[in-house]
Symmetry: C2
Subunit: 584 residues, 2 copies
């Protein structure tokens, strides 16, 4: 080894011994005949010291030529410091350098390599290899490393078998978001990259593998939203001979284990909530339950009092903001502006201040008496000092708007501590959702999700009302994972395809080999997939998954460091039997 210790290792006990360290120059101070260098590696920072008259002249002269990010090998005696630095773990000691070697020089880096950097996102991404030297970025990837190991340990210890499924698979006509890969060996034909290993994991259940897992890259070629990546990582799992409850228990166990291993956090109860309740009480299928402010439907107390806006509304819904009765007009106007933003889309906001003296002051006093408003307050559980905020309109739109407002209030009232974790299972999602564009039902999860058995007859009469054996794990308002119990018998599968508007031909061409596999003894099975990038960012208390990916792509799906994607040569195209269409 070039070194005897890492830069994070030495303590006062080692004082008096010799050590050799290797690392990067974090900082150089040259003052009054003394030179100090902070030497950094993955494990920590150690101070090197050089003193005129004590340190060999050649060594101290060399030390003076050194700049930030030079790579050094330094040897000397470990000595206890006079002025200890309790901000770093090696702060009790320093190295009195006797031998120094510059292993490599460095140009001045394009931004400051420290947690507090002056580098903008774009610049840091272009020089991601330098960005990765910053402690807070490395810590995020270290968290990811820990979570990778802990996930596999838990699943492997629970009899799950890790199986690598293929990356070069088959493109399907419906795979509009598939990345495709032209084959050189089979010219004119293409592979596709998997959006998920769904069919393979179901095949593994048909194979009797019983419990499968994989932490696997998946791919989606689509216009990117701020926090999507064209390649992303999933924890992908499937189990046979289990009920929905078995799956929830198993993956509650995994989630608890991860919190414990990676963060040393004991998370509380995993609340179970019906999809319908989530929509009714939070206007969202991924409610953030770190704070209350559940929706209260006010139709019966707010309608038929002459306020036209409410009277014509399908839904009048309120939330109660505790202790906010003293909000100023300006604060409330800002809320009104918030709900009127096009992204939210409400027409206006009604508020009721529950004054501490027991009276009420609302923005609709013209239509409602004090008794009326008291009825609202009672219904909303509002106490004197609280503020009730009310929206109205069509059910779906109003719930969505109120969800936005509730989350916004959570921000304003600082109720969203990122390190306070509130996990939640949302259960019994609808099986189908109506698509206005194509005027037909689509599978909300995917076409292999099983309907609630007792509701199968409803498929013919009221398909939209049929619930699925489908579940999502939601933490702090973020969907972390989702899955379902699959259909494993052909009769139900055929019924499902019929309701999704597939002809037998279409079903066969798209899912042929899976359908055929199901004829040879498919076991009852179900599974789940976790968005691993998102899970890591959640654990790290961050909103951005990009920070938790070593080499992420930007919102245009480009890697600005390696400049990819990029054109390829005419020779390469010829070799693949491809031509570019003239650009429009």
């Amino acid at each position: 080894m070039l070194r005897t210790h890492t830069c994070g290792e030495l303590r006062a006990e080692q004082a008096g011994s010799q050590a050799t360290l290797c690392g990067w120059v974090q900082k150089v101070r040259d003052k009054g005949g003394m030179v100090w260098i902070d030497l950094r590696d993955r494990y920590g920072v150690t101070q090197l010291i050089f003193e005129e008259g004590v340190t060999d002249t050649k060594v101290i002269e060399m030390a003076k030529t050194i700049g930030r990010e030079f790579v050094l090998k330094a040897s000397g005696e470990v000595v206890e410091r006079f002025a200890k630095n309790d901000k770093i773990e090696t702060g009790d000691i320093e190295i009195k350098v006797t031998d120094l070697e510059i292993l490599n020089a460095s140009k001045v880096p394009p931004f400051i390599i420290d947690n507090d950097t002056d580098g903008g996102e774009e610049l840091r991404m272009k020089y991601r290899y330098l960005d990765l030297r910053r402690g807070e970025v490395r810590d995020k990837l270290m968290l990811r490393h820990k979570m990778l190991q802990a996930t596999r340990k838990y699943l492997s210890d629970s009899s799950f078998m890790e199986v690598e499924t293929p990356v070069l698979i088959k493109s399907t006509p419906e795979g509009a978001r598939d990345f495709v890969v032209p084959s050189r060996v089979n010219k004119g034909e293409f592979y596709a990259l998997p959006q998920s290993p769904q069919t393979f994991k179901q095949l593994l259940m048909v194979s009797g593998f019983d419990r499968y897992f994989q932490i696997v890259k998946c791919f989606r070629d689509e216009d990117l939203r701020a926090d999507r990546q064209p390649e992303f990582t999933q924890i992908d799992c499937e189990m046979s001979f289990v009920s929905q409850q078995d799956i929830l228990d198993t993956f509650e166990g995994l989630t608890r284990f991860l919190f414990k291993e990676a963060l040393d956090v004991e998370v509380g109860e995993f609340v179970h909530m019906q999809y319908d309740d989530a929509m009714r009480l939070y206007g969202s299928d991924k409610p953030d339950v770190r704070f209350g402010m559940q929706f209260v439907e006010l139709n019966d107390v707010a309608q038929n009092k002459g306020f036209n806006v409410f009277d014509q509304a399908e839904l009048v819904v309120g939330i109660c903001a505790e202790g906010c009765a003293d909000w100023t007009r300006k604060q409330i106007d800002a809320l009104t502006d918030f709900v009127k933003r096009p992204q939210v889309g409400a027409k206006g906001l009604v508020h009721v201040k529950c004054n501490t003296d027991g009276t009420f002051k609302s923005s609709v006093d013209k239509f409602y008496s004090q008794e009326d408003l008291k009825a609202w307050a009672d219904k909303a559980g509002a106490k004197p000092g609280d503020l009730i905020l009310v929206l109205s309109g069509g059910i779906d739109a109003t719930r969505k708007q109120m969800n936005d407002l509730r989350l916004h209030m959570g921000d304003l009232l600082e109720l969203k501590d990122p390190m306070n974790f509130k996990p939640l299972w949302v259960l019994d999602f609808p099986l189908l959702e109506w698509d206005e564009d194509t005027q037909r039902y689509h599978a909300m999860h995917h076409p292999f999700t099983s309907p609630k058995e007792e509701q199968i007859p409803l498929l013919d009469t009221d398909p939209g009302a049929v619930k699925a054996n489908a579940y999502d794990l939601v933490i702090n308002g973020v969907e972390i994972g989702g899955g379902s119990i699959r259909i494993h018998d052909q009769k139900t599968q055929a019924l499902m395809f019929k309701h999704l508007g597939f002809s037998d031909e279409e079903a066969k061409s798209q899912f042929g080999f899976l359908m055929e596999a199901f004829e040879y003894g498919a076991p009852p099975h179900g599974g789940i997939a976790f968005g691993f990038d998102r899970l890591c960012s959640m654990f790290g208390g961050s909103d951005s998954i990009r920070d938790f990916i070593a080499f992420p792509k930007n919102t245009s799906a480009r890697d600005v460091m390696i400049e990819s994607p990029s054109p390829i040569s005419r020779d390469q195209l010829d070799d693949l039997g491809l031509d570019l269409l003239p650009s429009e």
Copy 2:
């Protein structure tokens, strides 16, 4: 859970208790009022028993309708068997079934689902999900699962950090075997799939990650040899601030750990061998050292005795086959035929029988006296009763032929026990190899491999003689892993590019971002990559990597189960801005 136990779990101790099992029907026997069913899952096989007059009539009637591979749920009492079956772990008990449910029916499978199957390779691959039900196939994937877990445990415990590098990377003009991926979002541009994460792992060293690992899919679009796959898995590692010896020690440790964890085998010494010695003594850079028969160069004793063939040869080389002096003319003729096969390419084979009476009988008695032949025998360490086999010609060709012959003799003499593991480090590979086609030197490993420091001056005078800090791990004649200490300073890198015939421009366009990264403080570093599929097949005592991949592609790079690759639609092509060139 649908079941109380797996099919591999019940023992005599459980006799008298109730159990519910789920699984697949391995076999049904219906005889004399009794029905036995062998029920199978991943964990084992348990016998179900039904008896007329005892078992409920409806249950036994149902049992009689059941065929192979039906999926059952069966409940009943665990009873000790009269006739125990010591071939299976549950052979002491059976289940007296009281409740039976057919969870799914099965068509008659296209081949027998048992270790001893009647299914040919092609058919088993088409129905791979059924092939995977066979115990020996599942065992191979279970071995792989264990090796995956053990590898990560060892590396993670040794401070290696797992980092996922991107799959969608950049195509380089030299990437003739790159799979490319057209981007829809960035029309006309392409990603490439990595042949290895080489540049990313070196960047991670520049980032100070110190120790990196990843078990990662890599891709190569090339005409496939029998045992290559277009997608394959690597254990990929890199370390900073280490010498070559540190890397060898670390990965000897990993290899030992894997043998212990996966096979409970303590492997012996890891022999270190110079590349030059491997070529001289075995004619191969991946010698199989499970057996001796090292090459003996006979030029000094065999030349200038009037045998023209030897006199004109650059190399006369022999091996000594112990105890084979009594081989028949037919056996020796077969060896001659073997070396004359076009794949081997020798012109002929000389042999010397060292008779037990101390005399010699050779195929070249005309030219050599008994004393001459004794000199050969002494040189070859041949004892009475041994057989010496001799080839001659140009050095490289003759060594290659003798390697083929030696391995063939190893087969004939049954010296290649697949479960006898002899690991070997081959060291100090040449830095460059001459390419006759392009009439220039190529990097034998890759252009970032460092030359032996003391030999750098030779680059100008005798580049072919320069050795690299490059090493391969070879086990039983199979290359399992390889790596090198990398160049980390720009001066050496520039020199290297010059000798590889790159202009500054070319070097920049191909390796620009890595070259730039090296300007910001690259540490000394090196690494290794293991072919994981090959490692698994080696551990499983098999020659075929395909058996150790859940869903392999065939030798035409096709997945015959999902029928991939396949044509894509005109719409999809349009969407990607692509057209197919007319086929030639």
